[in-house]
């Protein structure tokens, strides 16, 4: 094999290794909490990816370490009132760092089931 041939084989092998070792794609970040100050408090908004609907009949909840439960809500719902038509939000007193368990009931747009999602914040 010529030097060029060995180089080409090496490059192809390296490319193969990169592809083979990439592993599974990380779970899609389809649900996230965005925060913004609102006066002295913090507004938390639950944002879903384009393929996900958030169940409005079971409002998402943030369980704080002190036992407080905050519920996310929005007045804008889909026509069937089953899902949020805009990201629901909740207000946290003060500007402390958010620590707790977030629960949401979500449905993918291409499916006809509900599933429960729990995120540790």
């Amino acid at each position: 094999m010529s030097t060029a041939g060995v180089r080409l084989t090496g490059l192809m092998a390296a490319a193969l290794l990169v592809v083979a070792c990439a592993g599974p794609a990380p779970p899609p970040a389809e649900l996230r909490v965005e925060t913004a100050p609102i006066g002295a408090d913090t507004r938390m908004t639950l944002v879903a990816g384009p393929d996900l609907k958030i169940n409005a009949r079971l409002k998402p909840a943030l369980e704080l370490a002190d036992g407080t439960v905050l519920r996310f809500d929005s007045p804008r719902l889909t026509a069937d009132s089953a899902y949020f038509a805009e990201p629901p939000w909740a207000q946290l007193a003060g500007s402390r760092r958010i620590r707790g368990t977030l629960r949401a009931s979500v449905c993918r747009v291409d499916e006809l089931v509900c599933r429960s999602v729990t995120l540790q914040l």
Binding site: A13, G23, P24, C114, S116
Partner: protein, 198 residues
């Protein structure tokens, strides 16, 4: 091919195969963890004895029903919760199955399994009772507030269905909303009739 190049290619192939195997195993693990991956289509189940539920709180039944006493009847379990739109949308079809087949040997049982902790109100028997009345549900419902029956049957989605034959064997399973006389309704209808005829 010169020997060193051959060895190099062989080692690459081995490394690649190993990495792909790892990737595949990773996918399986990710599927178990990732709640966003797709729900299964309704299909034939691996036949096996249905596990015995032990729910103690029932509605539309004067006593806690047991799998044992239902031997000789076809049983359709519906895992649902009243806060799930896909679940309540499917109720008219289930009410229809109950109306058509109860006298022929079908027992439909709702297994009401909350998604959230008790603060959301799904555990409250009065709320479940109101939901049954609202949706015209007359078949028995068990409260599964500790998710025990849900876990016993390995359920992951609302709504889910398990069809059990007269001998107490799980024959069909599936998940997902369906409507009166759509394709999935027809499929479940056909399966119920098949098991009733056995």
């Amino acid at each position: 091919m010169p020997r060193p190049a051959l060895l190099f290619a062989l080692s690459l192939a081995t490394a690649g195969a190993g990495a792909l195997a790892l990737e595949s195993a990773g996918r399986v693990e990710a599927q178990a963890r990732n709640p966003f991956l797709g729900a299964p289509e309704p299909g034939a189940a691996e036949p096996g004895p249905a596990p015995a539920w032990r729910n103690t709180s029932w509605l539309n039944s004067d006593h806690p029903l047991t799998l044992k006493e239902l031997r000789g009847r076809v049983v359709l379990l519906n895992f649902w919760v009243f806060t799930c739109y896909n679940c309540t949308n499917t109720v008219p079809s289930l009410v229809d199955f109950d109306r058509k087949y109860r006298d022929q040997g079908l027992t439909l049982i709702g297994i009401h399994t909350p998604e959230f902790p008790p603060y959301a109100g799904e555990h409250d028997k009065g709320n479940v009772q109101r939901a049954l009345a609202k949706h015209g549900i007359e078949y028995p419902n068990a409260q599964d507030n500790d998710n025990r029956t849900w876990n016993l049957y390995g359920i992951r989605y609302w709504p889910s269905f398990v069809l059990i034959d007269k001998k107490g064997v799980i024959r069909y399973e599936g998940a997902g909303e369906f409507h009166l006389n759509d394709g999935t309704y027809d499929l479940w209808d056909e399966r119920i009739r098949e098991l009733l005829a056995e």
